[in-house]
């Protein structure tokens, strides 16, 4: 009971710092307008699964960038500044795990909740009957696209903990995002020109949506590699295990640093 109260206090403090009025409202607006900016699916597709896959990928395209901006603002810049100025140490009367959980839920949890909420709202405006008919594809598409962004988030979180500086973490986080994006593109091109299935599987481990798209035969990779749905699901689980490991690493490093 007391643990809950302590967590709630520290969560209140972090949410208040991360989402001063009207930041949350602006991000909600950007999520919603971004969803519809590219919200037209491929109208020539005649099967539910591929149609929903393309529709959801388009709906998520811009909002995922908005989510990354939110992560860079709250996690890289916000947490980096807190670490740099010693604000985190002022929370030390609270337990380290409470501080970490509050930061995690405030920066990533709220941003993700808002993202998913707006996406579901948009999806129910566009094609409510098709959501339930293709619920498997809907869930897999969301999980695989969010997986890539969460992986970037986890790496940005680790970089922020190492650098402990607001502006430096923001710049490094942006560079990490660009570097990973370019590397994935380069490895994909290499895999396609060399017909390397292993390279495509490695890419899918970091960005599982590529396996799902290839499974539906909607990507250039489909001619080289057509994974089964089980294979795509295994790669997705692998991706989330890497994310969990990176966040655990961050948690361990954060708690150790706070206690030092």
């Amino acid at each position: 009971m007391r643990g809950n109260k302590l967590f709630s206090e520290v969560f209140d403090l972090t949410v208040h710092a991360d989402y001063k009025f009207p930041q949350l409202e602006i991000f909600a607006f950007l999520y919603a307008i971004g969803a519809f900016a590219l919200g037209l699916g491929n109208v020539t597709l005649t099967h539910n699964g591929p149609f929903m896959l393309i529709l959801i990928s388009n709906l998520m395209n811009i909002p995922l960038y908005v989510f990354l901006i939110l992560v860079l603002k709250n996690l890289a810049y916000g947490l980096g500044n807190d670490l740099q100025k010693g604000k985190i140490r002022t929370l030390l009367p609270y337990e380290a795990k409470n501080i970490w959980a509050a930061k995690f839920l405030s920066t990533i949890g709220i941003g993700l909740l808002l993202f998913v909420g707006v996406q579901l709202f948009a999806l129910f405006i566009i094609a409510p009957a098709m959501v339930l008919a293709s619920i498997g594809t809907v869930l897999l598409t969301y999980l695989s696209n969010i997986g890539y962004v969460l992986l970037l988030t986890a790496i940005i979180f680790l970089v922020t903990l190492v650098l402990k500086k607001g502006v430096a973490s923001l710049v490094a986080g942006t560079l990490v995002y660009l570097a990973i994006g370019i590397t994935i593109q380069a490895v994909s091109s290499f895999a396609l020109t060399n017909n390397s299935i292993t390279a495509l599987q490695i890419v899918a481990l970091f960005n599982p949506s590529t396996a799902l798209i290839a499974n539906y035969g909607l990507a250039p990779a489909s001619t080289t590699w057509a994974p089964t749905l089980t294979e795509a699901a295994v790669l997705l689980i692998g991706n989330y295990l890497i994310i969990a490991f990176l966040f655990f690493l961050g948690y361990y490093y954060f708690c150790r640093w706070l206690r030092a």
Binding site: A37, N48, A133
Partner: protein
Amino acid sequence: MAESLKRWIIFLARIGGVLVAISLAFYLASFIPRGSLYPSSHSELLLSGKFNLDATPSLYAINPQLGMKIIFTTNKTLRMQVFSLNYSDVEKWLNDRNQNATVLAEFEAAYSGDLILRQNISSGATTFEYFPPKIENATVIVLNPTPHVAAWSFNEEDVEAIATPGSFSLALIIATSLGVVLILPWLTSTLKEKRRKESPT
């Protein structure tokens, strides 16, 4: 207790603010223009008791983002039916039979589960627009049930839209009204507090 209530009021107001922001975005998105694909038109005479078949202009299946729009102009009252069936399958079924009202009644009985819409078209111009809730084929059958020859023309196109105007309006009403309701307690308490501070006592 008062402090806890105040926190709840602020929390609900923030959710309300988020909903209003989302509805504003939906409102702006509803202005994204619709696209028109494969426009075509034809006109002909339809004998008494006979019918005519037509598919969507693109021959693709239609879906929640690809609807069909037809403008009929006729000098008699015709009956239009839309079936969620593939055009070539319907054509194949009807090919060996006479295209009259009795055959159409047999077809309707055999495929009653695939009937999406049945509507009378009065003389003059009638616009018909249909966006299916899921991916569907659509074949339009127009019957002349009158004892006279009917002259009619048929302008059709596929319409590409992010969402139907009706679903946008519904979402806007729900999100805006819920948002305003959640903001109201915060607004009234803030105004009360302001008045209390301004009063001389």
